[in-house]
Every structure is written in C-alpha cells, then in structure tokens.
C-alpha cells in the first residue's frame, strides 16, 4: 500500500474565459449515483450570474461579427477537444450510473452533435433567410440575426449530451450564453468548460455556472439584459415561474416538448429550427432601380 493521497480537482465556474470560484466562496458536494461524494463543486449565486451576464453581453457583438465560417471552425475545435478527452468525459458521465458502453456512446454523440451544428454556422442564414417576392420595384430580404444573450437552463440529464444539444444551436448563430449547468450531475459541464477554454472560444461567449438553480433561474429570467431563455432543463413549476419573470422584458422562453426527449436520436434532438429559435428576422426593403 502506498500512502499517496489522491489530488482532487477543484471544480470551478467558467465565466468570461476564466475559472473563478463563486463570489460567495461556497461549494456543494457532487455525488455519484451511489451517493458518494466525488467532488465539491462551486455553488454560484445570483451575483455570479450577474457577472456572467455582463461578460456575455460584452462578448456578444464581436462574436456575432465574426464570419459564420469562423464560428463554425471554433465550434468544430470544441468537438476536437472533447474527442481528445473522450475517456475523461466518459468517466464523468459514468458517475451518473450510466453503463460504460452507453457513456462512451453519449460522449461520441455529443461530439458529433457539435460537429453537426458547426457545419450550420455559415448555412443556417440561407435556409432561414429569404428573398421575399413583393409587388413593387424592391428587393425584400429577410435575414436572421442572433437574439443576443441567451440563458440556457441545461437538462439535469443527460448532463453532457443535453447541454451540448441545447448550447451549440444557441452560440452557432452569434448569441452568447449563460448556462445553468445540471445541478445533480455538474462534473461533465465543468469538464466541457475546460475543453472550451482551450478551443479558441473567445472569453464570455459561453459562461457555465454550477450550483443551486432555484436561486439563480428567477434572476436569469427577470434579468432585462438577457434576451432569451432555453428552458429544456426546467420542470413544469419552474417553467411557469420563468415565463412569468421573463414577461417584464418580453423575453422568449423556449420550453421542452411534451414527453420524453430522445437525446440520442439525431432526427429529433438536432435541428436547424433549434438555431432559428434564438434568431430575430430582420427584413430590409431595397429599391431595385429603374
């Protein structure tokens, strides 16, 4: 028996490209499916949320100003980084009680989903935008533009695939995101943040907060500088509260569909409409000349 004591990782938040602790200094225990503590994870508060929204707002214009091609490259790079650490991700996913083979499949599906959305970065405008027929000497063009800062309340499970499936379509169009990670299984989200930080993703484009979501979600929904909420991770009660709080700022809330979501099914769990959900259509009239 060697007397070596294992070096445990400190799981921190991901805000503005950095990995800070919560301003409160608090943590909470992340358990595995057997109820054993695997790590202590930062417990973010509404002040951390406020900071994350500020970072996301600051990062948004330049992220949206990049070419779609460049955003696609960066999201593809995230996929590369996840592939590189696939074994680490699989181990984290297994903590939730997922069998080894299934955990590996979830990781690979997450990577493929990132690549799939990366490909849409310079194509979704062509599908969602349009040259509209009008009765006059005008070009009438509709183009989608990113909504702005979007809050993502990630599904509790599957922690990795659920987060990737909801986050990728948000940022691909030029939105920036503030993510409330799975509270029950936070570890994969933190590891994903580490992959993002090494993937050329500019600081502030994705901000990931771990901790009690009931303390943060109402402030996220009522925050007037957040333009939309993806609430796939909210249960029915939470969703009603979010919609009410979001009403003051006329903020879009996208809730989960009825019934179980087949996250592994590419035909239903990934769609260009998920990108369209957080874009705004700008229509321009332009004279054709005589």
């Amino acid at each position: 028996m060697s007397g070596r004591i294992g070096v445990r990782k400190t799981y921190k938040l991901y805000v503005d490209g950095d990995f800070p602790r919560s301003e409160s200094g608090r943590t909470y225990p992340a358990l595995d499916h057997r109820g054993e503590v695997i790590a202590r994870v930062a417990a973010a508060t509404r002040k951390d949320l406020r900071g994350a929204v500020r970072a996301a707002r600051r990062a948004q214009p330049s992220w949206a100003a990049r070419t779609g091609y460049n955003r696609g490259q960066i999201i593809y790079r995230i996929a590369e980084m996840v592939e590189d650490r696939a074994a680490v991700f699989a181990a984290q996913v297994r903590m939730a009680g997922v069998a080894a083979a299934k955990a590996r499949r979830e990781v690979f599906r997450s990577i493929d989903r990132l690549v799939w959305y990366a490909g849409w970065a310079d194509k979704y405008q062509q599908v969602i935008g349009n040259l509209n027929p009008v009765a006059g000497p005008f070009f009438n063009i509709s183009v989608p533009e990113p909504t702005g800062v979007v809050g993502v309340i990630a599904p509790e499970a599957p922690a990795l695939l659920g987060l990737v499936s909801r986050l990728a379509p948000v940022i691909v169009s030029g939105n920036t995101a503030v993510v409330l990670a799975s509270e029950r299984w936070p570890a994969p989200s933190v590891v994903l943040a580490e992959a993002m930080a090494t993937a050329d993703l500019p600081g502030g484009v994705v901000n990931i907060l771990t901790g009690p979501r009931s303390g943060m979600a109402p402030y996220l929904a009522s925050h007037l500088d957040v333009n939309g909420i993806d609430a796939y991770g909210a249960d029915e009660d939470m969703l009603a509260g979010l919609e009410e709080a979001a009403a003051a700022g006329v903020k879009r809330v996208v809730g989960p569909p009825e019934g179980r979501i087949a996250w592994m099914d590419d035909r239903t769990a990934q769609s260009p409409y998920a990108i369209a959900a957080f874009t705004e259509i700008k229509t321009v009239w332009h004279p054709k000349g005589l």
Binding site: R50, V53, Y219, S222, H223, L224, D225, A245, A248, G249
Partner: protein, 334 residues
C-alpha cells in the same frame, strides 16, 4: 539620552519639526510674495502614500445595503455634474443632456435632478437656455481646458465670458507646468485672478492629479488652490490617465480637512474621470463621510464629474426597488 555622543530622543526633534500653523483667513495675509507661499507650502506635511492607499482600500470594503444604499444612490444622482467635453459637442447634444440632467429618468418622477451640466464655454449659452428654471446649474470649463497652457489674459477673458453668459460654476485648470517648475506664485495668482474675473460664479479648481507626480504635490496643490480662493478642488480633467482614484481623493479630502481646521473655510471637492459605476460612487461617499463628516454630504460641497455614472446609478436604483437586474437598453444614452 545620547548615542555616539549625540543627543537623541523625541523632545529636541519635535521642537525643530515645522509647526503646521496655517495663516487664518484671509489665508496668506495682505501681501503674497514667493516667500509667503514658500513658507505656507513648506508647512504642508508629506503624505504617507501606502497609508492613503490602505485607508482607501479598507473603506471601500464597507457594505452599504437597502435603505442606506438607496439614500446613497439618490444623493449621488443629486451630486452628479453631468459632463460632455468633446470637440464634436453640438447645441443639440447639449439640449439632450440638459433634459437628462433635469429629469434623469423620465419614467420616474422620484429621481432627483443632477447638480449641474458641465460643458465647454462655447456651449454655455445653449446650456443656460435649455436649463432655465430647472434648478440645474451650468458649469463651464475654462482657462484653456484641458492643458491650461495659455496667457493669463486669454484665460481671464474665457472665464469671464463664460460667467457673463450665465455659467453658475467655472471649472478652471491650474498651470501644471508652472506648478512643477516651482512657480507656485504664478499658479496662486492665476487662481485668484480667475476667481475675481468670474465672480459670483462658484470656482472649481482642477489640479489634474495625474500630472502632478505624487501625493505630496497633490496635497501642496490642494492647499495652494484653497488658499487662492477655490470653492471646490477637482481631481482631473478626465483627459489624462490616471484620473480620479480613491487614494488621491483621500489625500485631497485630508487637505480640505486641514484647511478647514486652520482657516474655518469649508471647501468642496469634485472627483472627476473614471467613475462610471454606482459601486465606485458609493465608495467615494463612504470615504467622504468618514474623512469630512456628514456636513460634506451635500451637492454644495461634493460633486461627481461623470458622463456614464448617472445611468449606472439609475440602473442600480431600479434594481434595488424592483429586484430585477437592469439593462442599459432601457435608459437614454444622452
């Protein structure tokens, strides 16, 4: 007590130490000569830089919440000198800012007006017209702002013109070149002459602390400006970095305290430049209250020179009242 045959101990040292006896009002007596100024400034004690920085840092950890925070934010709005000092300022922009100063939040009548609108001399007539009857003052920078490098006649003419056009307050810059070259008499005379020329307007003297090279000089310049008749001393033009900081403001506050103790004249202070958040503003108010007391917590003795601070104050007030984080999208820019 002796050491190596020499007498040591506190008694003989303190007997030799310069007595900090400042002349009473009129501060420097009837005839001001270079010698009088020199001995006046020599009596100004040096500044403990590390101490000032630590004191400022310690005071800025104080937490101000709820009712106290609302009261502080309300006071800070009333202390704002809403400022625009750009080459591209137009009469239209002045009219816009004037309405912002008079009603900072058009949707909320409980928000008080700002203290003053601070503009270039050229735009004083427009500001005076736009603010007539609003209770908001018009402040004008003068004396060849921001450099102050012009002949005295030019400076006097500029300040007198702005005052005659209706400016209630004149923000003059000191001649930093003369001060750094040691010609303190020139600085003194200029301040006194500008004060004379723009009477009865309130005279604010900008020291431009970022160019004075050290806290000792800031303290000396403060004492000099107050002796010459400044109603306010102001940290910066906002055109030089570093502008207002907490430690440099603390040094000036202490100079005001010393001057008040010696002469009985209460001088105001205006930190300007670099104060853009409500949190910073509240820190200044805490320091002000701790150094000079509640008598200075009024717009007639304390101002913030700022352009973007006002909106952050409004956002913070609404956050405290409504409990939801605010967005700049809901507040007017000018």
């Amino acid at each position: 007590m002796t050491f190596l045959g020499l007498p040591i101990g506190l008694a003989p040292m303190s007997a030799k130490a310069p007595a900090t006896v400042l002349p009473t009002s009129p501060v420097l007596g009837p005839s001001v000569t270079p010698k009088v100024i020199e001995s006046y400034l020599r009596a100004v004690p040096p500044v403990d830089e590390v101490g000032a920085a630590e004191r400022a840092a310690a005071l800025s950890t104080r937490s101000v919440k709820r009712e106290s925070k609302l009261a502080a934010l309300d006071l800070a709005v009333r202390m704002c000198d809403l400022t625009t000092l750009e080459g591209r300022d137009t009469p239209g922009k002045i009219v816009q800012l004037a309405s912002k100063a008079a009603r900072p939040d058009p949707t909320d009548p409980t928000i008080p007006p700002a203290a003053a609108l601070c503009v270039y001399p050229n735009l004083v007539p427009h500001a005076v017209r736009a603010l007539a009857g609003s209770g908001v003052g018009v402040a004008s920078v003068a004396t060849y702002f921001p450099s102050g490098q012009a002949p005295l006649e030019v400076k006097l003419a500029e300040a007198a013109w702005a005052a005659s056009e209706g400016a209630d307050e004149i923000d003059m810059v000191i001649d930093r070149g003369a001060f750094l070259a040691g010609d303190c008499l020139k600085v003194y005379e200029e301040i006194a002459a500008v004060g004379e020329a723009c009477r009865p307007a309130c005279l604010k003297v900008i020291l431009e602390t970022g160019e004075l090279g050290g806290f000792d000089n800031v303290r000396r310049a403060s004492m000099l400006a107050m002796a010459a008749g400044a109603d306010f001393i102001k940290t910066s033009t906002g055109k030089v970095s570093p502008a207002a900081t907490l430690p440099v403001t603390l040094v000036m506050l202490e100079a005001i305290r010393d001057f008040y103790a010696a002469s009985g004249r209460a001088v105001g202070i205006k930190p300007a430049g670099g104060i853009s958040t409500a949190k910073q503003a509240v820190r200044y108010l805490v320091m002000l209250s701790e150094t000079l007391g509640a008598a200075w917590l009024t717009p007639s003795r304390f101002r913030f020179g700022a352009s973007s601070l006002l909106n952050d104050l409004l956002m913070q007030i609404r956050w405290v009242r409504e409990g939801r984080y605010q967005s700049p999208d809901y507040f007017t820019e000018d």
